[in-house]
Symmetry: C2
Subunit: 213 residues, 2 copies
DNA sequence: ACCTGAACACCGTTCAAGT
DNA sequence: ACCTGAACACCGTTCAAGT
């Protein structure tokens, strides 16, 4: 075949196919040969469009970041900092819940990824505009990322096996119900996220109230 | 050589070597061949002691969990729930900071790992003993894990590249100082963790105060 | 410029063979 | 029981060759 008159691949097509593969089968399923097969080309062809497989995954991660709504941080949006942060956290979590397998890549931080940087820029800018000192605004950006990424990296409920025999009462006297967690996964992880988010925002509000002192 | 009169390997020796390799060079450096070479044997020898490479990494993860002090949750320890949770969070983070590369494995939850289950049991048991309803105690265990794992999974500060040119003010108007984050990594991540932890505990204290209502 | 097959240096795991 | 080398079906990446 050699070179076709019209290119078979494009960075967009590759990222779309890689995203679908990551969502469907996880990071481990993405090999250059498998991804190329999915696109109807041979493995090495990908290297005409990306320098490494890692760059492809970075692009998938950035495409995911780009789906997170940031309009709550617009200067002319009239939500206060607390409400903005709350709405953004829910929007961010919703995107990550739809694409859990890419979270380990996203959790490494924005690096040079444009959508990741836009997100960090929006949060930091909005906190400073709301009156938080820059050092505190940085901390807020960091601690929100800890909490959101941590909640998306692995389900708490699914972290416990669905097998009553795994929880010997002699060893784990308080885990008698732990085998039931998995089947109520969504409810438990969502409830914990909401409880944690409220606690975080309540706590930050206390600190905000003492800013002038 | 074939079988020596005294076994060359043991599960302990393998886990110790694997932990050292993970700490020194990261998860990606752990291949069965490399690990075996480190132990002076050939690759397939490991399969006499573990069924898969994954089981080896699970054992490394559990050995890490086992390092986390849980004495603050002892029934006869006189710390209140808030202080216990605070002290435990610091102890947990300290361990993870020393072994960051294994965090992705730990973040998948305890599964069947004994030290992971003991940890979950201790937190849950102490919260119930302190008067939290079981459903709330579960949420606390989950949200604390989100926050602690998220903070350990990737440094916030090192998530930003150390290159002023990466932050075009036209694109990211508020990130003019972001290139300085990396060089103050420890201070920033620790400060964010402490701020977030205090906010979380302050927020939970508010909810605790309304429990009777 | 953009695709191909062949090749290199790796993987995890299985298995028969050795003691 | 516990080690070995050979083998299988994979990897990511490079490169010369094709149009």
């Amino acid at each position: 075949m050699a070179r076709p008159r019209k290119p078979l691949l494009s960075t967009d097509r590759i990222v779309t196919a890689a995203s679908a593969l990551v969502d469907a089968e996880g990071l481990a399923a993405v090999s250059t040969r498998r991804l190329a097969a999915e696109l109807g080309v041979s493995g090495p062809s990908l290297y005409n469009h990306f320098r490494t497989k890692d760059e492809i995954l970075e692009a998938v991660a950035d495409a995911t970041s780009a789906q997170v709504d940031l309009s709550m941080f617009d200067p002319d949006d009239d939500r206060d900092w607390r409400t903005s942060l709350h709405d953004w956290a829910l929007a961010y979590r919703a995107v990550l819940t739809r694409h859990p397998h890419i979270v380990p890549v996203l959790a490494q931080g924005p690096g040079r990824r444009p959508a990741g940087l836009r997100l960090a820029d929006a949060v930091f800018g909005a906190m400073v505009a709301a009156g938080w000192p820059p050092a505190q605004a940085t901390r807020i950006g960091a601690l929100m990322r800890y909490f959101i990424m941590g909640s998306a990296l692995g389900s708490f409920a699914r972290g416990f096996v669905d097998d009553e025999a795994a929880y010997d009462p002699a060893d784990y006297p308080h885990l008698g119900q732990a085998h039931l967690l998995a089947e109520r996964q969504e409810e438990i992880d969502e409830g914990a996220f909401e409880t944690g988010l409220r606690a975080l925002l309540d706590g930050l509000s206390i600190q905000y109230a003492t800013l002038g002192d």
